[in-house]
Structures are given as C-alpha cells and as structure tokens.
Symmetry: C2
Amino acid sequence: MNIVTSIEKISQICSDWRSQGMTIGLVPTMGFLHRGHMSLAEAAVKDNDKVVMSIFVNPTQFGPNEDFSRYPRDMGADIKAAYKAGVDLVFCPTVEEMYPEGYQNYVEPGSLTTYLCGKSRPGHFRGVCTVVLKFFNIVTPDNAYFGQKDYQQFVVLKRMVKDFNLPVNMHCMPIIRESDHLALSSRNVYLTAEQRQAAPKLFAALSETRQMYADGEDNAAVLEQRIREIISGYPDARIDYIAIADKDTLEPLTNIKNGAVIALAVWFGNTRLIDNILL
Amino acid sequence: MNIVTSIEKISQICSDWRSQGMTIGLVPTMGFLHRGHMSLAEAAVKDNDKVVMSIFVNPTQFGPNEDFSRYPRDMGADIKAAYKAGVDLVFCPTVEEMYPEGYQNYVEPGSLTTYLCGKSRPGHFRGVCTVVLKFFNIVTPDNAYFGQKDYQQFVVLKRMVKDFNLPVNMHCMPIIRESDHLALSSRNVYLTAEQRQAAPKLFAALSETRQMYADGEDNAAVLEQRIREIISGYPDARIDYIAIADKDTLEPLTNIKNGAVIALAVWFGNTRLIDNILL
C-alpha cells in the first residue's frame, strides 16, 4: 500500500493507473477510521481496480467555534485499517499542501445547504464541496463512496457532481451502527459514559417514527413531536434540529407522500451527533 | 467538423479521444468570432491532436443590467470560421443544457476578483469561473487558450486551476488588434462611427505610458494621470478604471519595480471597452 502526502505524486500515480485502463475508487475520510469507513473501503475494493482513501481533517469545513483542533486523529491505526481493507493508496496531505499560500477558490453550493446541518453550520458544506472537488480532480475516480450518516453531505455533493459535470459515480452506503444502534462516528469518543448510554435513543426515536409511518401516520408534525418527546427525556440532550424532508430537495414536508428523510442533530454536552433514516 | 449541443455526447467523444491517447485543446468563446478567437484556435490546432471550441454566451457572467440579451451572435459565421481554423468540434449548448432546473453550484473566486473589472462587474468572474470549470470537466482538455485582452480573466482562471488542482495547461495568447491598434472585441460592433474613431486612443494611451516607463518613469500615479489626460480628451469617453498592478496578484502598485500590467476599462456611450499592456 502506497502512502502519499504530495498532490503531484498521487496525481502521477492515478494518471498512470488511468492510462493502463484501470478504474479508480475514492473513499474520502477525515480519518479516525471506524467500521463505517471500512464498509466504504470494502465496497470500493469490490467495485474498482484501484482504491484511494484520503485521510484529511479538512479545516475549511469547520466553523471558527467547532472542533477542528480537537477532532480525533490516529494516523498509525488508520493506515493499518486501510491496509487491512485492501486500499491501494492512502492520501494524507498536510493542510499547506491542500491550501497553499494565496489559496482563494471555493465551491459555493446552493439551496440544499440552507436546510438541516447547513442551518447550524454556515460554511460547512462550502468546505466539504471544495475539498471533495479537489480530491476528485487529483484522483480522477470513477466511483466515490460516502456514508448515509452524513445524508445531506451526500445530497449536496451529488448535486455538485451533476452541476459541475464531474464524471464520478456517487455511492451512498448504509449507516453502520453499534450493537445498541448508535450510528458509528469518530465523534462518539467525545461522549461521557452517561452521554454514551443515552445516545442510542436517537435511533430509537427514528425507529419509532418509522413504525408510526408504517402504521399510517404521515403527518410530519406528529412524527417530529414524538421524536422531540423521546429525546427530551434526556436532560443532557439538546436538540439542534429534527427535520422531515424530501429525500432529494431536502425541503421540509408537512405530509409524507413519496418517501422522506428523517434527520436529526442533537447535542450531548459539547458533542453534536447526527443520525437519519430514509422512509 | 462535429457540431454538438449535448453535454452527454461531447463527453463521450472527448472520452473516446482520451482513451485513444489523443491530446485535447479547448478554446472557450462566446462566439461572434474575430481574428482574436481565430489566433487561439490556431494555437490550439498546432499544439493538440483534437481541438474543441465552445460557443456559449454564458448568462451567469453578465450582471442584471449588462448586455447579455443584446450580445452579438452569429452562429452560422462562427461555425464557418471554426471549420476554417481546423477546429474538430464546436460545442454550442443551450442555456438549459448548461444550467438545468435546480442548478445551484458556483465557483466562488477570491481576492483576485476584487480589482480591475471585478470592482465594476460584481459576480462576473463567479460566472466565468463556473462555466469554465464546467467546460473543463466536460471536455477534459490538456490545454486551454485564452486571450490576453481579458487579462484579469486569465489570472483568475489560472488561480482557479491551481487551487482546484485541475490538470489543464493554461495559455494566454497575445492581443490581436485592428490596423489602428484597437483591440479586437465582439463588442466593437456596438460602437458608433465617432466612438470607433476615438477608441484606438486607449491603446495609444497605453503605448505612451510604456514609452514613459522605458524612459525611466516608474511612478504609477504619474503614468495613470497621463492615460487619464489622453482619454479625457474625448468627451464621449468615460473612464471606468485605470489600473497599474502587479501581474500576478493584481494588487495596485505605487512604483513599478518588477513589471506590471496596465489595464483600463472605458465606456464609449453604452459600450465598455477594455485593453491592457504588460510591462
């Protein structure tokens, strides 16, 4: 497995692969890998001749008061995990390599970023889109793999790919969960023991609304209220948002007709967790 | 010569060329071709196996009070000229093909757009960068050709290419002029006979400052004042800006040490002309 920090070098390697007619899969990550990331890598290994995993904690997608500096990092463990998953190349550039002096171009995504996480994290998707566009141009992947846990991220990136005519197939992979159904996240390590015990209630609340919907309840306000009740039972939990929205446009729904995404973000102390289900 | 309006079709053609190992040159234009455009096409034909010329009056780079709707168009003549120049493919999409319903991603360029034309045309370079990024992704050119007349455009695009890690070589080709030294521009057709007679004074003013600089005058204010005097002699001319700036950063200079660009934009009635020289 190759470990590359230079854009020039990885571009050369990927260009060589391309000229040999090989397909390339890309798994963009911020490292501190868990089984969720691994499931993306495994899908990529299955679908492509060569697989690149990027490991880069991208400063431009963090707000000034967010957790960029304390975001968990463990490059040694990540490299072992990537190797074990069959990744061919780990790309782990420095911030200076990605954003050299004088850097000034960003992607300006649109209305899809005004909903859900975009509301409480202004500039977040601008940073996500910018770094992913750069990775796409550097790696020239045929396929790119993202987790459904960051559902809005996937929808926003897919729209960017369409709008900018990028020749990349976008794959949204299922959420991987702990045995108690907490969605895997690198940020779960921030949780105290008590918070960790309460956190599975997010998925419990989502599951209950899925059942209510299956039983005929299609009123979004009623479903949202039920989620709010369940989560409010935990004094340490503070709801950022609960959204019942169109799967493609992310616009809020009043009644669910043709499917929906139910997404939420909840603070446990200083830790913000997200989860979602598709109906 | 192929004439293509569909993104899907041109992507396929360019992808086929690539897989045969051919190099591709791109000449992005807004049509109403003149010898300036032709010089770009000729350079592209010389350097590349295949040459694509895009002809697209891009609405996103025009302000609400600018000349998008009346911008001169002549697709019949353009196609003849492209054919004569040896272009292999003319790409002339509709606005709907380039910006379909729900379109929402743009390039947000940076500080380079705060100077010169960027000051009086807010959003202009956002539109230019966006459409050129799209063309680059659709055509995947090795080389792209732009005219020095739009010098700031070239500097802004070159920075975008660098920042977004686009694998495209950027070529800035010399300004082509009429026999009286007026820089060729599709907008010259807007000029009245009197305006047309006065317009060559732009280059005359630039040339005089070049001579002053050669004779030892390196004070930007002095050079600018001389240009202002020459142009103010024409009552129908209204100066938008005169800038003496660093060639790379476009920051204004007070003294010229290591070269400069002297750029100007001047209104003749409702027609805004630009010109520049490099020292």
